[in-house]
């Protein structure tokens, strides 16, 4: 097996085996699993409620895109430390016969796989509800938007607060996603969506609902803009070193 493939496997598996969870042993895994099950149950209950009534209102569509957006944002903020090569990867892997580019590519591939699976998992229920490719595209688009927004936010923090950007960006993302979760449950049944047009998940409703089609352009534009911010930033190996976003200057200099 090539070193790159080994590294992809290693990084991908590492995303499911957080040190925070393993530190206190298996009990923490159980707590984590119970929490995940409870969250899924809460969503299931919510979706069951949606099914029971006249489903298909714009607020329901907003719920689907917002659920995808917030879930992915929460996953990104929880897995923040394992998204990019950091000081420890550098210290552990640099003395081993591995190319630096392999480390970087493996990290990104593992991240892509992880987020891909997370996005599919997060949107399985909405797909079952709507069975329309437009809704599927809107939900996946909202999830991708959350990823790009998280990266762009980190880039912004890096510019404004270079020394503590990692911590600040993660704290901000966690705060936004945790505050958004309970608010999310109030979305179905909302009548005045016009006042929520400033919300990114609302822009994605424009992709699947003709009544809000004017917002669709905004959603694609925002992805394009966030993507270009990420692409122009430090999100690439430079001069043979891998200084990905989130990596710490390994020598502290």
């Amino acid at each position: 097996m090539s070193p790159r493939r080994l590294l992809i496997e290693h990084f991908f598996a590492g995303m499911f085996r957080s040190e925070m969870l393993s530190e206190a042993g298996i009990e923490n895994y159980r707590t984590w699993l119970i929490s995940a099950a409870a969250a899924l149950f809460a969503f299931h209950t919510q979706f069951a409620r949606l099914r029971a009534r006249n489903f298909g209102q714009p607020s329901d569509e907003l719920f689907v895109t917002a659920a995808s957006f917030v879930t992915i944002l929460l996953i990104v903020s929880l897995e923040w430390q394992s998204l990019f090569p950091g000081a420890r990867d550098w210290q552990v892997l640099s003395p081993l016969p591995v190319r630096k580019s392999d480390i970087f590519v493996a990290r990104l591939t593992a991240l892509g796989m992880f987020l891909g699976i997370a996005m599919i998992a997060a949107n399985l229920v909405p797909a079952g509800l709507y069975l329309s490719w437009r809704h599927w595209v809107a939900a996946i688009g909202a999830g991708s938007h959350a990823v790009l927004l998280a990266m762009a936010l980190q880039g912004l923090c890096l510019l404004v607060l270079p020394r503590v950007f990692g911590f600040v960006a993660q704290a901000l993302l966690l705060a936004v996603s945790i505050v958004s979760l309970p608010l999310l449950l109030h979305v179905p049944g909302l009548r005045a969506l016009d006042r929520l047009e400033w919300l990114p998940p609302m822009w994605w409703v424009g992709v699947c609902d003709a009544r809000y089609a004017r917002l669709a352009d905004l959603s694609w534009l925002s992805v394009k803009r966030s993507g270009s911010v990420v692409e122009r930033g430090r999100f690439r190996p430079t001069g043979g070193d891998f200084q990905g976003m989130g990596s710490i200057d390994p020598m502290g200099c």
Binding site: E19, R88, Q91, P95, P97
Partner: protein, 253 residues
């Protein structure tokens, strides 16, 4: 043979290592000594490929390491000063991961990993995540990882930190056996007693420059009867007792 020629490292204009040159011949254990901040770890990091030098060259068997860094790392083992590991992995998993990255085929890698876990008295902890290991246990895992591919060059940066008496004796024995088999060892340490016992030659650094490089025998006959006195002379260290008295006086003033 490992040849280090005119190695210099500057960090933002500050010279951490200044024109250092030395060689390690097969079967030789080179003691690399110096007070804190003298440039020992910088040299080790350059040799192991963790950082690039500002000037100078490292050659292995006559060829610059920079021509084929991956090939060089296949023949080198490294024990860092700080035990940096993936805490979510078990000891066996980590050794297996390193062995596979070093190109050792799975069945053999697993056999070696298990054998080394047993020999380094880590077998009982083989199923535990390394985040629960003590510093000494982590250090032993790193030692096992550094030798599992039977390297030609072993680079040890303060390898005794955290090791108990038994493990320290084992490491000392291991170094002697390795040298007897014609392997090269770069041994950076503060533990002068051990250096005196196992090394054939020493290099002493002071403020980034090599101030002394010779065989212990010759230094003993020309400078002082023991390495501690030689070290004190080379690094212009003041007599510790008057300094200690001054410290005590300062805190009582």
């Amino acid at each position: 043979m490992l040849e280090v020629e005119n190695l210099t490292k500057r960090y933002r204009g500050i010279t951490a290592l200044d024109n250092a040159s030395f060689q390690i011949r097969p079967g030789e254990i080179l003691g690399y000594l110096g007070p804190n901040g003298s440039g020992k770890s910088t040299t080790v990091k350059i040799v192991t490929g963790l950082i690039d030098p500002s000037d100078g060259i490292v050659k292995f068997h006559g060829r610059p390491v920079s021509e084929d860094p991956v090939g060089f790392k296949r023949r080198m083992g490294y024990v860092p000063e700080e035990p940096q590991l993936y805490g979510h992995l078990t000891g066996t998993e980590y050794l297996l991961f390193v062995a596979r990255l070093r190109g050792i085929e799975y069945a053999m890698a697993l056999r070696r990993a298990e054998d080394l876990m047993r020999l380094f008295q880590l077998y009982d902890a083989r199923h535990s995540a390394m985040v629960s290991y003590s510093k000494g246990m982590r250090q032993r895992v790193l030692l096992a990882a550094a030798i599992l591919h039977d390297p030609e060059l072993l680079t040890l940066d303060e390898p005794f930190s955290g090791l108990d008496v038994n493990a320290a004796q084992l490491l000392r024995g291991l170094m002697q056996v390795f040298a007897r088999e014609g392997k090269m060892i770069l041994f950076s340490s503060h533990v002068l007693e051990v250096v005196e016992k196992v090394c054939s030659r020493v290099v002493i650094l002071y403020k980034g420059k090599i101030v002394l490089a010779d065989s212990i025998e010759k230094l003993r006959s020309s400078m002082a009867p023991d390495l501690e006195k030689i070290f004190a002379q080379a690094t212009h260290r003041e007599d510790a007792v008057p300094v200690a008295e001054s410290i005590l006086a300062a805190v009582r003033r």
